[in-house]
Every structure is written in structure tokens, then in C-alpha cells.
């Protein structure tokens, strides 16, 4: 019994499409992931867990978490402010601002690292000044944070802005007529309306922050145990012919990414149902 015989495709077409989609998913998406885990466990659990328990790995994990812990809140605040300001206010240059916020997406990660070397490296604009004051930016935590900030810059704004625009301004205007201050309007009216999209943006931002390679590689200095993030550590292990170890650490990163995805999917399911309750079944 087909549900919509008027427009439904023949069963074999549907089966073919579903099969093709599953094949694409398998070959293009699942297989690379499977390789990571298969290679990680090729020499057994022992080798994999030993690679993870290595002090250098542990310090890389801590560094990566620290970088993400700084990056995400900064981009959260900035992204929210930008989205709010663009969606809820009129001012000349809104379009330009939107474009500028998206700019880092079209900049190569390598360039994202390069610009900070050009700025803060010893041969850069501020390098000599910084060294005279004994301040280290590139090849230290601040450089890693800056490069990661740049790369993950648009995530929050991008996920929240369209929703804010779609929701319009009437609720905020209503709040304003009721005497709410800017912060109160934002905190009590706008934020609750976008919180789920916001969380999803934060999760994406976090996933990218923990997984960034190109930009971070340029500014890291690759000092073992000090400025090696997890993705860089994967490269190091790989270059040391410790393939099982490299893939074990890679698998850990992949698991972090998968957990992020699971959280995001769960969130969407949750919000999907919420939205469904609101609109009811009109059909």
C-alpha cells in the first residue's frame, strides 16, 4: 500500500535510490571511518591503548581541550553578538558585515595560520616588539588559540543568524515596549528562541576546533608535550612509523567527533519533536 500513489515513484526506483544512497554513504563516508578504526586495532588493543596513554598523547589531548575551551566561548560571544546585531537592528553595512563574518570559510587554513605568523612572528609586524617584552604568541598557546579562533570563526554566527532573521523582530519589539533593556531582551526573548540552533553551532565549532590541522600546523612549532595538539600529534606518530598509534589517536579524535555528531543529532531529534508539538498535525 503506497502512501501517495499520485506522485510516488515505482518501488524499484525507490529501492534503487535508497540503495545508491546507502552505497555512497558506505563508500564515501563509512569506509574512511572504518579504516581509521581497523588500522588502529591492527596490532591489537595493547598497542592502541599504549599510544593513547603515552604522556605526549595525554598532553596533546589536554592542549587540544584547552584550546577548544578558550576558542568556543570567544566565538560564542562574538557570534551571538554579531547575529543579534545583524538580525535585530537596521544599520548601513549589514550585508558587508555578514559577508565579512563568512570570510574565514573561504580562506585556506594554511593562510589562516600564515597571517598570524606574518603578524606576530619574529619577522612580522609586531614580532620584535613582542620579543622585546618577552611575549610569545606564535609557537605557543596564544598562537594556537588565534589560529583556531580564525578557522572556527563563522560557525556560531552562521547557524544562529538565519534562524534569528527568520524569527523576525516582533517579539523583541514587544519586549522593548514592555520596558526591557537590551540585555534583558536578548537574554529572555532572543536567546531562548535560538538556544537549540546555538547549541548545534557550538558543537560544530567545537568539533572543528579540536580537529583543525592546517592552520594550527603553521603556528604550532611542534614542540612535543608543549605545543602539539592532537591532530598534529597524529601526524607526528604517522611520521614516526607508529601507524597503529597514529590511527589510535586518530580514532580517539574521530570518536570525539562522533560524540559531537551524536549530541547534535539527539538535539535535532529533540527540537524536531518540540517543533512538531507546536504546529500540531495539520494534515
Amino acid at each position: 500500500m503506497s502512501e501517495r500513489p499520485g506522485i510516488a515513484d515505482p518501488a524499484w526506483v525507490r529501492a534503487l535510490l535508497a540503495g545508491a544512497a546507502l552505497l555512497v554513504g558506505l563508500l564515501l563516508l563509512a569506509l574512511p571511518l572504518a579504516v581509521v578504526f581497523a588500522e588502529a586495532l591492527r596490532r591489537g588493543w595493547g598497542v592502541a591503548t599504549a599510544a593513547l596513554a603515552d604522556p605526549d598523547t595525554l598532553s596533546a589531548i589536554r592542549l587540544t581541550l584547552l584550546v577548544a575551551a578558550i576558542t568556543v566561548p570567544v566565538n560564542l560571544v562574538g557570534g551571538l553578538a554579531a547575529a543579534w546585531c545583524i538580525a535585530k537592528h537596521d544599520f548601513p553595512g549589514r550585508r558587508l558585515l555578514t559577508t565579512l563574518i563568512e570570510l574565514p570559510f573561504s580562506v585556506s587554513p594554511v593562510i589562516s595560520g600564515l597571517v598570524f605568523v606574518l603578524l606576530f612572528g619574529l619577522q612580522g609586524w609586531f614580532g620584535p616588539w613582542l620579543q622585546a617584552r618577552d611575549i610569545q604568541i606564535v609557537f605557543a598557546l596564544p598562537g594556537l588559540v588565534l589560529a583556531t579562533l580564525f578557522v572556527t570563526f563563522p560557525f556560531v554566527a552562521r547557524t544562529v543568524l538565519p534562524l534569528m532573521q527568520e524569527q523576525g523582530r516582533t517579539e523583541e519589539e514587544a519586549a522593548a515596549t514592555l520596558g526591557a533593556s537590551g540585555w534583558q531582551v536578548f537574554r529572555r526573548v532572543t536567546l531562548p528562541n535560538v538556544q537549540w540552533a546555538l547549541l548545534s553551532g557550538v558543537l560544530l565549532c567545537n568539533a572543528r576546533a579540536m580537529g583543525e590541522f592546517g592552520a594550527v600546523s603553521v603556528v604550532s612549532g611542534h614542540i612535543r608535550g608543549q605545543t602539539n595538539t592532537v591532530p598534529l600529534h597524529v601526524e607526528i606518530l604517522y611520521n614516526e612509523y607508529q601507524f597503529a598509534g597514529a590511527f589510535a589517536v586518530a580514532a580517539l579524535l574521530a570518536l570525539l567527533g562522533l560524540a559531537t555528531l551524536a549530541a547534535k543529532t539527539a538535539l535535532e531529534r529533540l527540537t524536531g519533536r518540540r517543533l512538531g508539538e507546536g504546529t500540531g498535525d495539520a494534515a
Binding site: A53, G121, L122, Q136, A140, G225, Q226, T227
Partner: protein, 341 residues
């Protein structure tokens, strides 16, 4: 317990990001720190050497010392030091990279004379790694340009090791009957047409050759070739020693400006001098570097077969000249490198 310690952050980093103060680690240890910025194939050597050095230093002075290392392509590492990576010592693949740092005033210009043997405590050379049984019959440089031979070597623009490969091939071609610059250029052009994968670093090339099964012969540091035999026990590859090769002298130097600034000069100098001491030389040999110590070298004759070795200074007029002529943008390499397809 290895997990109990946060990564020690440079104090200066914290100054630049006051917000991080909450996350800052307690500076429990008062250990002195030394940063050795090195290149890819020395990871194993310095892992051993650092441990021994720290122990010896503590025995001698009572100070705890922690040696940090950074590895990568030699050129990239030099660039990082130039850009402000706070290296106390550099142990790079070639003198040219140290010269580049010296040019920016971070190292004294006369660095190469400050330590024995051109400031190169160990040497190496370039050999061939081929598939087991040498199915393609590769014996010497001339065999590399035969049709159908896949040669794996990194990009001389990005890899110090690759430059040694290039110069060794060039030197061999010059020695052939009728060998002149034109013939050498022609020879190298043909050689690079046989290269299917041009990795950015020596380690990438080894992986491509051994792990990914690319090509028939890998041009490798002698120490890397031996290490590959050891690491990839089941990889079915063997070493072929060419008739002539180049004397590779990996250079070491104290980065004067950083050592002064960080107050680590004594430590840095001791660290490099230790490489010339018997323990250091033995470690070098253990990791397949040719030690400078003649007796030690003779004792490992099976590992380090005698062959004719030319030097960069002798055959190319020094690194500055070689770099300018061959590897600079628009240099000989750029001209001869024309991919086959």
C-alpha cells in the same frame, strides 16, 4: 603517573593571554628547560640522547633538566626558529638552514667553526632502498633513469634530505665519462621524470615507499634506510649502496640570541658537546648515523660500508652556492623539473 602533569606553558604565553591564568598549571618543578629544534629523522636518536643527557647533567650539576624537542622538515624548522620558535639549539639537516637562521642574526655567523668537524657531530650519506631481491636490478645511480623505474624521493624545495639526494645524483653524473653540468642536468631531469610521488619530507617518502608500495627504489638517508629495515620488519626491502655518494653533514648550533635571552647557554653548549663525547657518538652509531669517532666507525664497518663520498664544499662550493644555483626559485631544479605527463 604520566597523566598528572599539565603541559608546562611558557610564562610569556600567559602574559599574552591573561584570561588563561585560571587554567595555568602550577609550576611545581623547577627543572631547567632546553628546546632542541631538529628535523624529522632524528626523533629516535634524540629521544635516547635527551634521556642520557638529562641524567648526566643532573649527576654533574645537581640540576634537573627537561629537554623538549620539535621535529619537522628541516626548512620548516629553520623557518619556525626565524619566526620566533624559542629554540636553544638547532640540529638541522644541512648547514644552509642554520645559515638562514644566522642571517637573521639569531646565531653568530661563524657558528660552523665553533664545534669540531664543521659543527656536524655525526654524518650520513645517501643510499638506495629497493624491494627485496632487487627485482629491477638497481645497483647504481645510472639505473635510476631507466624507463619503468619508479624513484621515490622528497621534494628538494621542502626537504633537506631531498637536497642531499639531488646533489649526490648530480655529483655522480659529473663523474661519468663526458660528464659536465649539461649532462648532469639532463641526467637529473630524467631521474625526476621517474618520480611518481614527491613527498614534502623524508618520512613521507619512506611511508610512500614502504607502506604504500609506491615505486621501486627509495633514495634515503643511510640512517633512515636502516631504521626502515628495523621498523618495518616484514616490509621486504633491502639496502643497495651506490658506488658514489655525498657526505651529508647535519649541522648543530646554539641559537645564541635565544640562549642568551633564556639563560641556557651553558646547558645548550654542554648539550651539543655531549654529541661528540663517546656516549653521544655511540648513540649516533646505534641510530645508524656515521660517528665521527674513527674507531667507532671502523667497529661498525658492516653497517657503514666504505664508499666514495664527495662533500658539498668540494663539489658545489658550499651550501650557499648550491642553494642559490640549484634550489632557489627559478634555479636549476625548477628548470629541469618537468613532469613526464
Amino acid at each position: 603517573m604520566p597523566g598528572s602533569r599539565l603541559p608546562p606553558l611558557p610564562r610569556r604565553a600567559l602574559l599574552a593571554a591573561p584570561a588563561l591564568l585560571a587554567a595555568a598549571p602550577a609550576r611545581a618543578q623547577a627543572a631547567r628547560e632546553l628546546l632542541n629544534v631538529s628535523y624529522d629523522p632524528t626523533r629516535e636518536l634524540y629521544r635516547d640522547y635527551n634521556a642520557g643527557f638529562a641524567k648526566a647533567w643532573q649527576a654533574r650539576t645537581g640540576q634537573a633538566v627537561r629537554v623538549n624537542t620539535s621535529h619537522g622538515g628541516s626548512g620548516r624548522q629553520a623557518r619556525s626558529v626565524i619566526d620566533g620558535l624559542a629554540a636553544d639549539v638547532v640540529t638541522l639537516a644541512l648547514a644552509y638552514d642554520v645559515d638562514a637562521i644566522a642571517e637573521r642574526g639569531l646565531i653568530a655567523r661563524d657558528w660552523i667553526t665553533r664545534l669540531p668537524h664543521n659543527s656536524a657531530p655525526y654524518t650520513s650519506t645517501i643510499t638506495f632502498l629497493v624491494r627485496q631481491g632487487n627485482p629491477k636490478g638497481i645497483r647504481d645511480w645510472g639505473d635510476l633513469v631507466k624507463p619503468g623505474i619508479g624513484v621515490i624521493t622528497p621534494n628538494p624545495k621542502t626537504s633537506g634530505g631531498a637536497r642531499w639526494n639531488y646533489l649526490a645524483a648530480w655529483a655522480w653524473a659529473l663523474r661519468q665519462p663526458g660528464g659536465d653540468d649539461r649532462a648532469a642536468e639532463e641526467f637529473l631531469g630524467r631521474l625526476y621524470r621517474n618520480v611518481p610521488v614527491l613527498d614534502t619530507g623524508a618520512r613521507g617518502s619512506t611511508t610512500s615507499f614502504v607502506q604504500r608500495g609506491q615505486g621501486d627504489v627509495l633514495l634515503a638517508w643511510e640512517n633512515e634506510a636502516h631504521l626502515a629495515l628495523q621498523e618495518f620488519a616484514g616490509a621486504k626491502v633491502e639496502i643497495v649502496t651506490p658506488s658514489l655518494s655525498i657526505l651529508a653533514e647535519p649541522s648543530v648550533a646554539v641559537v645564541d640570541r635565544n640562549a642568551e635571552r633564556r639563560g641556557t647557554r651553558d646547558l645548550a653548549e654542554a648539550y651539543l658537546q655531549g654529541l661528540y663525547a663517546p656516549e653521544g657518538q655511540a648513540l649516533a652509531a646505534k641510530h645508524f648515523y656515521r660517528p665521527r669517532d674513527a674507531a667507532l666507525l671502523a667497529a661498525h664497518a658492516a653497517l657503514f660500508p666504505a664508499m666514495e663520498l664527495v662533500t658539498v664544499d668540494g663539489a658545489f662550493g658550499g651550501w650557499g652556492e648550491a642553494q642559490r644555483r640549484h634550489f632557489a626559485d627559478g634555479g636549476v631544479f625548477d628548470q629541469l623539473y618537468k613532469p613526464g605527463r
